[in-house]
């Protein structure tokens, strides 16, 4: 479904491109040997290189290069065996060098693609323009003093991958799906933890609008550093509406950098960045071109894990899952692994229903994560086995599952302790069925007169009389035989 905004002069569509800054997972920084851990005491993870001291020389970290290549391969992108670092010049209090070492003309990764999984199970391919390596800046803290900003350089020099999409996204929802999918791929690859709260994944959105049917690209505005997927979507929605209002009242959009105010839900101009687009890039004279061999790339390629798209396709082919279920399960590697443990050697659709249904509900209810689940994959598998071998009915299994969440005990143990074994002894069930029929002659007659819908009520009564332990299939069969004949 195309996302269209109704204006006074006609219908409009949004054109969105996203720039994601993803912090590379590495022990040391991009060009120095200082640590990258989050949350350390201020300025304790800073080398003289990171602090921009005179005469210090940057030396590139091999693992950061590997991570960028790995991410490029995960995005099915072209890897540039020769890339060049450039200086992006601007002044800010948390940028001690007065420039950021980045890549401009020749990034390490070129064009690639990312597949969006839409809620209806279909997919859409979005182009990746490039991925380049660059240094992060330090951190400014503005609320520790009435007239001063405090600067911590621990983050200064940490490696970032800037991942730029093509202007292929057409709705806030697609922007959200793009970020979700990108984060999923980064986590599978182990190249970025994707944590937006801690700032290890940050997003800038480039937004413009155009009349539906037009292919022009109008002036765009860049919304900086939005720190959650929901806010990115809100910011895009607000910004698109603003553009339409400006155009429809006869105005023009000025290319500018804007800031999203999540409290007011609006974007506003960042005046200080008016001149900032003049970055005067030039090749960094401290760094030679980065040249990697095809063997370096091939070795990384050989070690890539199975990625979400491939896993989703396999789950659909191997387990017969639908696109939606497969998409949900593979979004996180741990949930995919959990499902596979449960499904191994069992009916995959039943396993899927339990994981997506009761298990995910239990995660929500207990506030636990799948890394520390309220019920282990092995125990859930065992529960499914108990249904299969007739020990538990589906209904009893749900009760046992609830007890498993509460106690952490294995299902077989609970069945034993609580005597929850399903009754499949036909004489015991028959006794219960006879008793219910004998106690309700009127209703029995009504069924015989054709009101067969009442049979369900009888089943309920028998189940109640047996504390839910009777095998429901046997109860149904016996009831219809005895009443209807």
């Amino acid at each position: 479904m195309a996302y269209i905004i109704k204006g006074e002069t006609g219908d409009w569509e949004i054109v969105i491109g996203l720039e994601v800054h993803a912090q590379v997972i590495s022990n040391a920084k991009l060009f120095s040997g200082a640590a990258t851990l989050f949350g350390a005491e201020p300025n304790t993870q800073v080398s003289f290189v990171d602090a921009g001291f005179p005469g210090m020389l940057p030396v590139i970290n091999e693992v950061c290069v590997e991570q960028a290549v790995r991410t490029g391969l995960g995005l099915r992108a072209r890897i540039n065996l020769t890339s060049v670092f450039a200086r992006k010049n601007y002044f800010y209090a948390d940028l001690p060098q007065g420039y950021q070492i980045s890549q401009f003309d020749l990034p390490i990764v070129g064009e690639g693609e990312l597949i969006l999984d839409l809620p209806d199970g279909s997919t859409r391919t979005v182009g990746i323009e490039r991925l380049h390596l660059e240094q992060d800046a330090g951190k400014s803290i503005h609320d520790m003093h009435p007239s001063k900003s405090f600067i911590d350089l621990n983050r200064s020099g940490v490696a970032l991958m800037e991942i730029v999409s093509k202007p292929d996204l057409r709705s806030p929802e697609e922007a959200g799906l793009y970020l979700t999918k990108l984060r999923s791929i980064l986590r599978y690859l182990g190249t970025c933890d994707g944590n937006m709260q801690e700032g290890s994944m940050r997003c800038d959105a480039n937004v413009s609008v155009r009349p539906v049917g037009s292919t022009e690209l109008r002036t765009r505005c860049e919304i900086k550093n939005v720190n959650s997927i929901r806010f990115v979507q809100q910011a895009i929605e607000y910004e698109a509406r603003r553009h339409i209002d400006v155009y429809e009242s006869g105005g023009e959009i000025r290319q500018e950098t804007r800031l999203f105010d999540s409290v007011k839900g609006e974007t506003r101009s960042m005046r200080s960045k008016e001149h900032a687009h003049d970055y005067r890039y030039f090749p960094d004279p401290d760094l030679l071109p980065l040249v990697i061999g095809q063997d370096f790339v091939d070795a990384i390629k050989a070690g890539l894990p199975e990625l979400p798209d491939a896993k989703k396709a396999r789950f659909m082919a191997e387990y017969g899952l639908n696109a939606y279920d497969a998409g949900v399960l593979v979004a996180e590697r741990v949930s995919a692994d959990f499902f596979e443990t449960v499904a191994k050697g069992r009916d995959a659709k039943i396993a899927c229903n339990w994981v997506m249904g009761d298990f995910f509900a239990a995660l929500n209810a207990t506030g636990k994560t799948i890394e520390d689940p309220p019920v282990s994959a092995a125990d859930l598998g065992q529960l499914i086995d108990l249904i299969k071998d007739g020990t538990l009915s589906g209904r009893l299994a749900k009760d046992v599952f609830a007890l498993m969440v509460g106690t952490g005990k294995a299902p077989a143990v609970l069945v034993e302790e609580k005597g929850m074994k399903q009754v499949t002894d036909s004489s015991a069930i028959e006794a219960a069925v006879d008793a219910v029929i004998a106690a309700n002659p009127d209703k029995t007659q009504q069924v015989r007169d054709g009101k067969t819908a009442l049979l369900g009520w009888f089943t309920g009564q028998v189940m109640k009389a047996t504390q839910g332990k009777a095998n429901p299939a046997m109860v149904n069969e016996m009831l219809s035989k005895k009443i209807v004949g």
């Binding site: 120095s32 300025n43 091999e62 003093h145 350089l153 960042m270």
Partner: protein, 95 residues
């Protein structure tokens, strides 16, 4: 290529160098002279020649991903005009 006063003023502003108006003419002349000097290189035919990035045929050396530096906040802050509680402090910069 010659630079006019407005361009020189903009370059000075981007570089955060304070230049008085009466210096602009002189600087524009000096900078233009430098550009003219370098422009002589344009007389050489460089079609099909890759830009040279270094005199010696070297590639970028790489470093292992190990923590070997940092842990000396006192030295990092030693030259700071102002510091407090382990942070550099500067006049408030906030939108």
């Amino acid at each position: 290529m010659s630079l006019d006063k407005a361009t020189v003023r903009n370059i000075a502003n981007l570089a955060r160098i304070e230049v008085r108006d009466e210096e602009l003419d002189h600087l524009a002349g000096e900078l233009s002279n430098i550009l003219h000097f370098v422009e002589q290189l344009a007389e050489v035919d460089t079609d099909g020649i890759q830009p040279m990035t270094a005199v010696a045929a070297l590639t970028l050396p790489m470093r292992a991903d190990a923590v070997t530096d940092g842990g000396y906040p006192d030295q990092v802050l030693a030259n700071a005009p102002e510091a407090e509680e382990g942070f550099f402090t500067v006049p408030k910069v906030v939108e």
